[in-house]
Symmetry: C2
Subunit: 229 residues, 2 copies
């Protein structure tokens, strides 16, 4: 439910699905669906900026907003630009990149969002390892949209997996309760309300649509890549 | 949702309700309802044992079981003994006492359980401060029964408070979904299943009954006390 709790889980040998619905992992899914070559998540603005000289497009978000001086921020629409096809992107965000960094002990680290929900479920089943769904939250706090995604993914996996902890049961119950109106529920959440202040309602609606894409980005070394799918 | 997340909350000036349904705060509620004078929560078995010489009854639980050499463990029924009336009890448990220790920056720290749910809600409203419900969980992990209690308390307070964070929304949704069958839901949870292994189904059923008692224990210095109510 939060990167602050991930140390409670034993990751080696497992699959981790990293989730930051608003908006890091939704952006990553969109970026690969639109043809970028690779994405390098980094912790600091400085590291990200330095990669510009190495030929990377640089993307940075802090506290929900694009950081001045970077090529792009954290809107999925900015990743639809044809000019990004075949390019490498270096990215740093408030919550998502930290969540990836704290997942790296796993055997496989996948990038999940509502945009590729069913494709992620199929990949998780094919990998046939225990699963930890790692929600980015907001600066350590539990958030509604990432927990809902966890519940949605659990719902697709119930035939193949058993629930191993109470937080999974809880996330699934939340999803079952709100599955017919995800945008309605999420728009009441504190994080969505915070982001609405930045005028990105269009982003939020886009990020809550299910199965827009088939691509499942995954970590390979220190970069995110995607197979042809 | 966990003592591992409490550092994300600003406690000074607020009311904290500490919750460890199975079974520390249920025991504390029961103990004061049955007339103990005071309770001193301590972190270690050694500290607890040392208080025996100072005239305390000593109670210790680790990993769900009574620790050998202590007077009592962590069953609410053990606190119903007439011999405990007017006595002081020193107590250490796996999760509950740590959760209390991590709550002490608050202005008021109350002990909550289903057993005194409505009385806690009335006290919280009377105190008229922002509220943090601090769930003990299980060794840092989120658990079902403490989150359910948080949702139940939120449900009673909705007329007087607004929800400040997504975890509160989530707990409330969980409670609303399962309010008609708390024992059924909790008995599926990982922690309840762990405890059932110790043959304490009777304890679990007792701890999920609502409003058995009116007493609201609270921290006064380093001890838990209760006013006459």
């Amino acid at each position: 439910m939060s990167p602050e709790l991930i140390h409670l889980f034993d990751l080696p040998g497992k699959t981790v699905v990293v989730v930051d619905i608003l908006r890091a992992t939704s952006c990553m899914t969109t970026a690969f669906a639109h043809g970028i070559a690779a994405m390098k998540p980094v912790a600091s603005l400085e590291e990200c900026r330095a990669l510009k000289e190495a030929g990377y497009v640089i993307a940075a978000e802090r506290n929900g907003e694009k950081v001045a001086g970077f090529d792009i921020g954290n809107s999925p629409f900015s990743y639809m630009e044809p000019a990004l096809q075949g390019r490498k992107v270096a990215v740093t965000t408030t919550n998502g990149t930290l969540t990836i960094a704290k997942s790296m002990a796993a055997h496989d680290v996948l990038i999940g969002s509502f945009l590729n929900l069913s494709a992620v479920a199929r990949r998780v089943t094919a990998l046939n390892q225990d699963l930890v769904i790692h929600c980015a939250g907001w600066k350590g706090s539990v958030n509604a949209e990432d927990t809902l995604f966890a519940g949605a993914l659990i719902d697709l996996l119930l035939n193949d997996f058993t629930l191993g902890a109470d937080d999974a049961t809880l996330a699934h119950a939340l999803y079952r309760q709100h599955q017919d109106d995800l945008p309605g529920y999420v728009s009441q959440s504190s994080h969505a309300q915070r982001l609405q202040g930045f005028g990105i309602m269009k982003d939020i609606e886009f990020c809550l649509a299910t199965d827009t894409y088939e691509v499942v980005p995954f970590m390979q070394g220190d970069q995110i890549v995607a197979s042809g799918n």
